[in-house]
């Protein structure tokens, strides 16, 4: 098996995540799908790190996890704030701003 298969897998998971962002309405799930995309990137980094024999890919993956954690805190705080105001976590309900 060629190690590029990992990358193809990453691309597929990435796309599934992107589709999830587009089709789900619950803001929390949408955000979870973004996390799915980040995870796909991490898989690619780790696989490339092994291919090239350097550890940089793993370093980046580690940083990505930290960033994701920070992003989750901020994101969930924003979603909670919206929810408390509107009693809804649906991103479709948030469409006062348009045209």
């Amino acid at each position: 098996m060629d190690p590029m298969n990992y990358i193809v897998l990453a691309a597929i998971v990435f796309t599934i995540g992107a589709v999830g962002v587009l089709v789900r309405r619950n803001a929390i799930i949408v955000f979870m799908c973004v996390e799915l995309m980040l995870n796909a990137c991490n898989l690619a980094f780790v696989a490339f790190a092994r291919m090239h024999g350097g550890i940089e890919g793993q370093v980046i993956a580690f940083f990505v996890m930290v960033v994701a954690a920070a992003e989750v805190v901020v994101g969930l705080a924003i979603i909670m704030q919206i929810f408390r105001t509107r009693r809804s976590a649906s991103i479709d309900d948030a469409n006062l701003l348009k045209n």
């Binding site: 291919m51 090239h52 370093v59 980046i60 940083f63 990505v64 992003e71 924003i78 408390r84 006062l96």
Partner: protein, 549 residues
């Protein structure tokens, strides 16, 4: 201080020593970072009443000091050197990065003035973000005069991110900088005092779409890492000319370029990655909109120029077609949509999208003139747009004190508030690119660079698009000066010292950069040698050769 060099070998260097950093060169970043951290400590230990004055003073002094330090560093850069890298070539200190940082700091200072503006004790920010809009609790907080002074440390971190974004010399640092810049802005967008539902919605949209775009950016980095085996720009550049580590690995590079492009284009807000801009600009507190429209745009283009000119400087042919498509789409679609906008903030947002398209033509040029043209354009546009948003903060609905965004309300403002209307008129003329304003010279410089690079069709589209944009800028001027005042005429606040300074700064910069750009910028904008990018690239394999003097 480590001179430019190619990356070390991938042989592990395990060490327990503290890294040897040049703190002097890092000082502009460190000052802003320190101000943010101290701001957080102030939040924890200082009583609420005294926080406002301490935080504003701290933030402004820090940004001012960082600005001065940046200027000093420009002077201290060795004349013959392309620039320096530090912290193991993860951060670069060269003239373009210092220029962008200086502009960002100046714009941040102007935005800070707006952020700090308070009228009768109320700022542009909500007193208590956790309170539900319209609730008793909110009312209690309004009566108690609560305020979120946490805004200042958040702004500091955002500014830090912008600075680092333009100075990053590898994709990892750049990604972190992108997040450091974005996260505080997501939060700040949701803190408007009035129309809080709009504001919260803006925060949600900006956050979700921003996270979505950084996922693309990250995937692009992964592909480039796969191609080059490293993420330093120098290594990517070298790999671009040598063909990468994997045989037949070119798709990796191409996908990487495209996806990194998506992340970048989202941040600068070009079509079709622009949708967030009007909504977020409209919903966010106007001082924050000013910061985003000026500082973030400068930072994003600064980073974009570095990525495309340095990291992908050897693979220009690969990315040019994609930017052509995006630039044309942007200039056409955004200009057309802007024609029927009815809200001033949305209009300025679309105008910002169109301007991003114009600057993109300079990126497409991929030559030294493109770099300097884009730099000039960004500085000019930044100051003008900060001034324009400062004016937006002054025009309020008579009944509830929210900003009067509806353009029909602006009718006849030229008679009731001539100075305000004249300033806005000047800014609009600058956006339209009328000579003797900074906008003309900027536009001329970027278009000229694009023509020189053989992108004349792009320039024709750009000039046509600028004619369409002139239409709606003129429409506002006509509305303000030639129309009868509207029935629901807005209340125009008297600009306080802070807002007044910002407007004045915008007017001064717009005129000065239009009438006397030469003496002002000759010493500020790095003057590239008249060589073509290829020639330069051949001479230096170093990372930032294009940024060479």
């Amino acid at each position: 201080m480590i001179p430019l060099s190619l990356s070390e070998t991938t042989l592990p260097t395990v060490t327990t020593q503290a890294p040897d950093l040049d703190y002097w060169l890092l000082s502009p970043l460190l000052v802003v970072f320190a101000a943010g951290v101290i701001g957080v400590i102030v939040e924890a230990f200082v009583p609420a009443q005294r926080r406002y004055s301490i935080q504003t003073a701290l933030a402004m002094v820090a940004v001012g000091v960082a600005f001065v330090l940046t200027l000093v560093q420009v002077g201290a850069l060795p004349a013959d050197s392309a620039g320096l890298t530090l912290a193991f070539a993860t951060v670069v200190v060269d003239r373009p990065s210092l220029f962008f940082q200086g502009v960002i700091l100046a714009l941040a200072l102007a935005s800070l003035l707006l952020i700090a503006e308070r009228r009768d004790g109320e700022s542009a920010f909500t007193g208590q973000a956790a309170a539900v809009p319209g609730s008793e609790e909110e009312r209690a907080h309004v009566l108690a005069g609560s305020q979120h002074t946490e805004v200042y440390p958040l702004v500091m971190f955002a500014v830090l991110g912008m600075q680092l974004f333009t100075a990053a010399n590898d994709f990892l640092t750049m990604f972190i900088a992108l997040e450091v810049m974005s996260l505080p802005l997501y939060l700040l967008c949701g803190l408007a005092r009035r129309r809080r539902l709009f504001s919260q919605e803006a925060a949600l949209k900006y956050f979700l779409l921003g996270a979505f775009s950084s996922a693309f950016f990250l995937f692009g980095i992964a592909m480039v890492y796969g191609y080059a085996g490293a993420v330093e720009f120098a290594a990517v550049r070298a790999a671009g000319s040598s063909g990468g580590l994997i045989d037949g690995g070119e798709p990796l590079l191409l996908i990487g370029i495209a996806m990194i492009g998506v992340g970048m284009l989202f941040k600068v807000g070009t079509v079709p990655f622009h949708n967030w801009k009007p909504d977020v600009y409209q919903g966010a507190p106007t001082p924050i909109t000013a910061l985003m429209a000026s500082g973030t745009l400068v930072a994003a283009f600064g980073a974009m120029l570095r990525v495309f000119y340095v990291a992908f400087g050897t693979t220009v042919a690969q990315w040019r077609p994609m930017l052509w498509v995006v630039a044309i789409l942007t200039m056409v679609v955004a200009a057309v949509i802007a024609v029927t906008q009815r809200d001033i903030k949305r209009l300025l947002a679309y105008s910002s999208v169109v301007h991003a398209g114009f600057i993109l033509t300079a990126v497409v040029a991929a030559n030294a003139d493109g770099l300097t043209g884009a730099m000039f354009y960004l500085a000019a546009y930044g100051f003008t747009t900060v001034g324009a948003f400062a004016i937006v903060t002054l025009v309020r609905n008579p009944d509830n004190g929210a900003e009067a965004g509806d353009l029909t309300q602006w009718a006849g403002l030229g008679r009731t508030s001539p100075f305000l209307a004249a300033s806005l008129g000047l800014f609009l003329l600058a956006f339209a690119g009328i000579p003797l304003t900074s906008g003309f010279i900027g536009k001329f410089a970027v278009f000229e660079a694009a023509v020189a690079a053989g992108a004349t069709p792009l320039v024709v589209v750009g000039v046509l698009s600028s004619a369409v944009t002139a239409f709606f800028y003129v429409r506002i001027i006509v509305l303000m000066f030639f129309a009868e005042p509207a029935e629901n005429a807005p209340r125009v606040l008297k600009p306080g010292i802070l807002t007044g300074t910002t407007v004045g700064l915008g007017v001064a910069a717009t005129l000065l950069l239009g009438i006397l750009p030469g003496p002002v910028l000759e010493h500020v904008i790095p003057q590239p040698a008249a060589e073509t990018s290829e020639a330069v690239a051949a001479e230096h394999t170093a990372a930032d050769s294009l940024f060479a003097r």
